[in-house]
Amino acid sequence: MNGVHDMGGQHGFGPVRPERDEPVFHAEWERRAFALTLAMGATGTWNLDGSRFARESLPPVTYLSSSYYEGWLAALERQLVEHGLVGEDELATGRPLAEHPAPVARTLDAADVPATLGRGGPTVRDARRPARFAQGDRVRARNIHPATHTRLPRYVRGHVGTVERVHGCHVFPDAHAHGLGEDPQWLYTVRFDARELWGVDADATSRVSVDAFEPYLEPAP
């Protein structure tokens, strides 16, 4: 979706402000929001791509005016309601009101957290067809504007780059986020000259790459 989360190239956000000796969490509730998000992810009710879509689907004003973990929490609440795990009334009162809480497929015990995080969530899958593109190929990022989840940022759409690396087949977020299965697709690192993306005033010595799934790309002369 063309949301405010797709920030590459936007102006007006001001300078980067690094923080000296930054703590991992700035408040206890951030630690809790992070843990809740991971724990709910581990139930298997949705997947990481679905969570990203929930975050980018927050109202633009909410997205931009929330701190990072406020955004995570708002998206988590939305997912909990959408999947029928928590009622709006329960969110409002902060208390469980249903007599029988909706079941989830799995729960994450505290003792299993290190092993679960250690396993991670590999996205590489066996290839079912040969790759369409090879290292060195010129490709154009397609000018597409899906209203659904996508990982093709707007700033490369329509622009021509070069395939720098081929990474095998990976779970396709555009399908996976929406319950349409893993639909594995070839994944490429595609490199663009800064001037191709940003025009003649851009730095001639800068280059930018994105990791692009095959359906995002078409051959370029």
């Binding site: 590459g8 956000f13 690094p18 250690g118 590999p122 990982r151 779970v171 690192t189």
Partner: protein
């Protein structure tokens, strides 16, 4: 990982040929580190890592990302004005140095291997490790010089 790549040429070769295995051999594995790729700074190329769409970051190696990495100023400007972003971090590179920006738009997680600072010939891996910073491995900083590390 970085200090080892400076001290051990065999490891360095392995790190750029098969980053995942070379980094896993040091015990860095797990969530958000399933597909790690090390990229090499040289006198000609400086690498910078960003996630413009959200906050993708190599958790098992660098921990959770700092607030600035997840915030709009960095995500919006890193791809369009990387030299300006580097200046925000006090880093000024020669004009002829290519800035290579990696936008982590899929599940690959990038780690920058900064250049080894001058004046560190014969240093042990442990001592070299004291020169490596998180920002140097994102690309928003350089490895510390011996003088900076001593300060």
């Amino acid at each position: 990982m970085v200090a080892k790549s400076w001290a051990d040429p065999e490891y360095r070769r392995w790190l750029f040929e098969d980053s995942g295995a070379a980094i896993a051999s040091l015990g860095y594995t797990g969530r958000q580190g399933e597909n790690l790729l090390a990229v090499e700074n040289t006198p000609k190329v400086h690498n910078l890592v960003v996630c413009t769409l959200c906050s993708c970051y190599p958790w098992p190696v660098l921990g959770l990302p700092p607030v600035w990495y997840k915030a709009a100023p960095y995500r919006s400007r890193a791809v369009a004005d990387p030299r300006g972003v580097l200046r925000d971090f006090g880093v000024e590179l020669p004009e002829e140095t290519e800035i290579r920006v990696w936008d982590s738009t899929a599940e690959l997680r990038y780690l920058v291997v900064p250049m080894r600072p001058d004046g560190t010939d014969g240093w042990s891996e442990d001592r070299l490790a004291g020169l490596v910073t998180r920002d140097a491995m994102i690309g928003t900083g350089l490895a510390l010089s011996p003088a900076e590390a001593a300060a």
